[in-house]
C-alpha cells in the first residue's frame, strides 16, 4: 500500500500556492513586488504553479532605487520576458526629482529608506489593493510576528500590536478603500528552504549569488561591492576578493560574504553551515537600531 506523504518542500509549496490563489480571488488589484532577489524569484515560480497556463492575475512591480547591481537588472528583464508578464518600474530617482523624498548625503547615504515612499506612491497611483512580497518570518524578529495577509492602513502603515488574528488557512482579505494588504506567501519558509527549492526546481539565479571575484571595500566589518553610488571614507581601500551575496538589495547597503561556493550545492552546504543570519551578515539597513526593521515596516517598508 502506498503512503500519502508530502515532503517539507512540497508542503510549503502547497501552502504558498494556496495563498496566491486566495489573494487573487479576494483582491481585485494586486501586484507582485519583484526585486530580482532570490525570494521574489521563488515567488514567480510559485505564481506559475498557481496560475499557469493562464497569465498571472497581477503585474510585477519593481521599486528601482537606481542603485541596483547591474546583474540584477539584467536578470529582471530576461525573466520578465521569458514569463511574458507585465512589469511596472517605480523609480526612486523619479521620487527624488519630483521632490517627494530628499536624497541622503554623505558616505553612508542610502536610498533604502526612500523606497518606502516610492512604493506607497506606486500603490496609490496604480490603485493596488494588495502587494505580494517575499518576506519570510525567519528573517528578522519583527517579521516573525507578521500575518500572511497583513493589513496596511490608508497611510500604508503596519500596526503590529493590532493585527487581525489569522487561523487555519482562512485568510481575511478584506480592506477598505485606500487601504491595502501585504501578502507573504513565503512566510513559513527559511533561507535554507528557499535554496533547496531553487535547486529542486532548477530555477536560474542572478550570477552574483555565486562566488565571483570583484572589487570590494570593508566598512563596519562588512564587505561591500565597490560601486559608483558610495563615497569611500578616508581609510577605506578597494581590494579584490572572491565573494558572493546572500541577499540582494541596494548596492549601497548590501554586503557580500567571502565564499568560494560556485554551484547551488556548494551554496546550500554553506547556508546549512552558516552561523549568522542572512540579514545579520549582509544588511546594513537592519543594523541601525534594535528595532530597525519594525520601525521601517511600520512606515510601510516591504
Amino acid at each position: 500500500m502506498r503512503t500519502y506523504r508530502r515532503t517539507h518542500l512540497q508542503t510549503l509549496e502547497d501552502e504558498s500556492v494556496h495563498i496566491f490563489r486566495e489573494l487573487a480571488a479576494e483582491r481585485e488589484r494586486p501586484c507582485l513586488l519583484f526585486s530580482g532577489g532570490k525570494d521574489s524569484i521563488v515567488l514567480l515560480r510559485l505564481a506559475e504553479k498557481a496560475f499557469r497556463p493562464a497569465r498571472f492575475p497581477f503585474p510585477l512591480l519593481h521599486v528601482d532605487t537606481g542603485h541596483n547591481f547591474p546583474e540584477t537588472l539584467e536578470y529582471r528583464d530576461r525573466r520578465v520576458a521569458e514569463l511574458g508578464e507585465r512589469l511596472i518600474v517605480a523609480s526612486v530617482q523619479d521620487s527624488i526629482d519630483k521632490g517627494r523624498v530628499t536624497e541622503e548625503t554623505g558616505p553612508r547615504a542610502s536610498r533604502n529608506r526612500l523606497q518606502t515612499t516610492t512604493l506607497l506612491d506606486a500603490i496609490e497611483e496604480h490603485q493596488f489593493d494588495a502587494a505580494i512580497g517575499g518576506a519570510r518570518r525567519d528573517e528578522e524578529r519583527a517579521r516573525a510576528k507578521e500575518r500572511i495577509f497583513s493589513h496596511r492602513d490608508e497611510f500604508g502603515q503596519w500596526d503590529p500590536k493590532n493585527q487581525r488574528p489569522e487561523l487555519w488557512s482562512l485568510y481575511n482579505g478584506r480592506v477598505k478603500r485606500g487601504e491595502h494588504l501585504r501578502v507573504f506567501p513565503l512566510s513559513n519558509w527559511t533561507e535554507l528552504d528557499v535554496w533547496e527549492y531553487i535547486r529542486h526546481e532548477e530555477i536560474p539565479l542572478p550570477s552574483i549569488y555565486f562566488a565571483h571575484r570583484r572589487d570590494v571595500f570593508e566598512r563596519d566589518g562588512m564587505l561591500y561591492a565597490a560601486n559608483p553610488f558610495v563615497k569611500l571614507l578616508p581609510h577605506e581601500k578597494i581590494r579584490k576578493e572572491e565573494v558572493r551575496f546572500r541577499t540582494i538589495g541596494d548596492m549601497s547597503c548590501t554586503g557580500a560574504v567571502k565564499s568560494s561556493a560556485k554551484t547551488l550545492d556548494e551554496v546550500i552546504a554553506e547556508v546549512a553551515a552558516a552561523r549568522v543570519t542572512e540579514r545579520g551578515a549582509t544588511r546594513a539597513d537592519d543594523k541601525f537600531t534594535e528595532a530597525a526593521m519594525e520601525d521601517r515596516k511600520r512606515e510601510g517598508y516591504f
Binding site: 500519502y4 493562464a54 525567519d138 517579521r143 493589513h151 487555519w168
Partner: protein
C-alpha cells in the same frame, strides 16, 4: 540547521505554558541545541540581557520580536519559529502564557499537529495546564506532549514526575485527544530535550526532540472523505489554451484520482475527473494538503466556493449552523449580531441566532445564562447564514469544519469557529 533530508516531512507544533514554566527557555534550547539559533541572534540576546541586568542570558529574548514585548518583558503575540533536524522540519507557533492567552492559543493551535504543554515540576497540575490541554483538545490537535520541566529543581525525582503523570492521565481521559506523551525535562540544563539525561536513569522514553522527530503524523489527515473546495478557476484567455478549464484548489480531505466520479456542491451535478495536474504535470493521486488543478469531463458551472465530493460521501449543506467559537475582540458578541463569515473558499453573511452557553475553560462548566461572549471567551452559538455552507463537523475535518467571523464595519477578524455535527 544541518543538511535536511529532501524527503523530510514538516511538523507544525504549538507551545503553551505560563510565564515561569520555562517555555521560552525550552524553545531557545531547541533552537540552540539543533544549531538553529544564529550567532548574531545569540549575540543580540546576550547584549540585551546584559543591558537589562538579567542574571543569565535570557533565551526568552530570542522569541520576543516586537519592541513593546522587549520593553515590557512579555510576549504579546503568536510568534513563529523554525528549526530543522535531519529527520524533520519544524514550525513552532509560540503562544504567550497569559496576555490574551485563549485568543493566541487558539490561533497557534489551529495549524498545529502537536502541542507541547509545559508543566513546572514543583507546581504540578495547575489551572493553566488544564486550560491548555482543554484548548488543544477543542482544536483537535492530535498529539499532546506534557513536558514536565524543572526536574533539576526537584532532585530529578521519579516520584514527582509519576505523580504529575497520574494526575494528568486522569484528567486527560476526559479529553478528546488521540495521543498523549509525558517527558521529564530540564530546559535549563537541556536534560531530555535533545540529549538523554544521565540524571534520570529511571526514564526510558524518548527525549523531547526524538519524540518530535518520530511521532507518527501521516495518519492525522483525513484520507477517506473526498473534499475539494474550488478556490480559483483557471481559464487562459489565449488561443493556444482555448478550451482549457481547470478547477484549482487545495485538497481538504480524501484521495482524488482521474476517473473518479464526483459531485459538485451545492448544485449537486455529477461528473468525472478527467485529469489532475500541478503546473502542467499530471498527478496520480491528490490528497491533503496538495494544491492541484482538477479537470472535469462535463462543462458544468462550477466556481469559487463550490466543493467537489464523492456522490456516496457528501458533506452537510445548510444555513443553520451549530458551532463552538472563540471570541477575539473587545466588543462582545451578542445575539442578533451580524457578521461576514468565511468558510473554506466561500464568504457569506451570518446572523447569530442564539448564544447557547459560555464555556469556562478552567472547569468545563457551561454557563447557559451568559447571553453573550466577551474577549477570549469560548462558547457555543447558533448561526443562520444567507447562503448554504458546505461543511463537515470540525472533529471530522479541520478544514471543512472551521470558519472565521469578520466585523463588516472594521473588517477585523472577530471569531474563530468550529462546526458541530448537524
Amino acid at each position: 540547521m544541518s543538511g535536511l533530508d529532501e524527503e523530510a516531512e514538516l511538523l507544525r507544533f504549538s507551545t503553551a505554558g505560563s510565564v515561569d514554566d520555562g517555555k521560552s527557555t525550552l524553545i531557545g534550547r531547541l533552537l540552540y541545541d539543533t544549531k538553529t539559533a544564529f550567532e548574531d541572534q545569540l549575540q543580540h540576546v546576550e547584549d540585551v540581557s546584559r543591558r537589562r541586568g538579567d542574571e543569565r542570558t535570557n533565551l526568552a529574548l530570542l522569541t520576543d520580536g516586537l519592541r513593546a514585548e522587549r520593553e515590557q518583558g512579555i510576549t504579546i503575540d503568536v510568534a513563529y519559529r523554525y528549526f530543522a533536524t535531519k529527520r524533520r522540519k519544524f514550525i513552532i507557533a509560540d503562544t504567550p502564557g497569559h496576555v490574551q492567552y485563549t485568543r493566541n492559543m487558539v490561533t497557534g493551535a489551529s495549524t498545529a499537529s502537536l502541542s507541547i504543554i509545559l508543566v513546572d515540576a514543583r507546581q504540578g497540575l495547575v489551572e493553566q495546564s488544564r486550560r491548555h490541554a482543554f484548548i488543544a483538545s477543542l482544536l483537535r490537535i492530535p498529539h499532546l506532549v506534557f513536558a514536565v520541566n524543572k526536574m533539576d529543581l526537584v532532585g530529578w525525582d521519579e516520584k514527582v514526575f509519576r505523580k504529575i503523570e497520574d494526575e494528568f492521565r486522569d484528567f486527560a481521559a476526559r479529553l478528546d485527544v488521540q495521543d498523549i506523551a509525558f517527558i521529564p525535562i530540564s530546559a535549563l540544563t537541556g536534560a531530555n530535550v535533545v540529549d538523554r539525561s544521565a540524571d534520570m536513569p529511571w526514564y526510558h522514553g524518548p527525549t523531547l526532540l526524538y519524540h518530535l522527530e518520530t511521532v507518527h503524523i501521516s495518519s492525522d489527515r483525513n484520507l477517506i472523505d473526498v473534499r475539494f473546495p474550488v478556490q480559483w478557476v483557471i481559464r487562459p484567455q489565449s488561443d493556444e489554451h482555448h478550451d482549457y478549464r481547470g478547477y484549482a484548489g487545495q485538497v481538504a480531505g480524501g484521495v482524488l484520482r482521474a476517473g473518479d466520479e464526483v459531485v459538485a456542491l451545492p448544485s449537486g451535478l455529477a461528473t468525472t475527473i478527467t485529469k489532475i495536474e500541478q503546473h502542467g504535470r499530471p498527478v496520480d493521486a491528490a490528497f491533503a494538503p496538495m494544491s492541484v488543478t482538477v479537470h472535469l469531463a462535463d462543462d458544468v458551472d462550477i466556481s469559487r466556493g463550490d466543493l467537489l465530493a464523492r456522490p456516496n460521501n457528501q458533506p452537510s449543506v445548510g444555513q443553520d449552523l451549530d458551532a463552538m467559537i472563540c471570541w477575539m475582540t473587545d466588543k462582545p458578541l451578542s445575539p442578533k449580531g451580524r457578521y461576514a463569515l468565511k468558510h473554506t473558499t466561500r464568504w457569506t453573511r451570518a446572523i447569530v441566532t442564539d448564544v447557547l452557553y459560555r464555556l469556562d475553560v478552567n472547569t468545563g462548566h457551561r454557563d447557559e445564562a451568559a447571553g453573550k461572549l466577551g474577549l477570549n471567551d469560548l462558547g457555543r452559538i447558533r448561526l443562520r447564514t444567507t447562503t448554504p455552507v458546505i461543511y463537515d463537523a470540525y472533529r471530522r475535518n479541520r478544514t471543512t469544519g472551521s470558519f472565521i467571523l469578520v466585523d463588516e464595519t472594521t473588517n477585523n477578524t472577530v471569531a474563530a469557529g468550529m462546526l458541530l455535527a448537524e
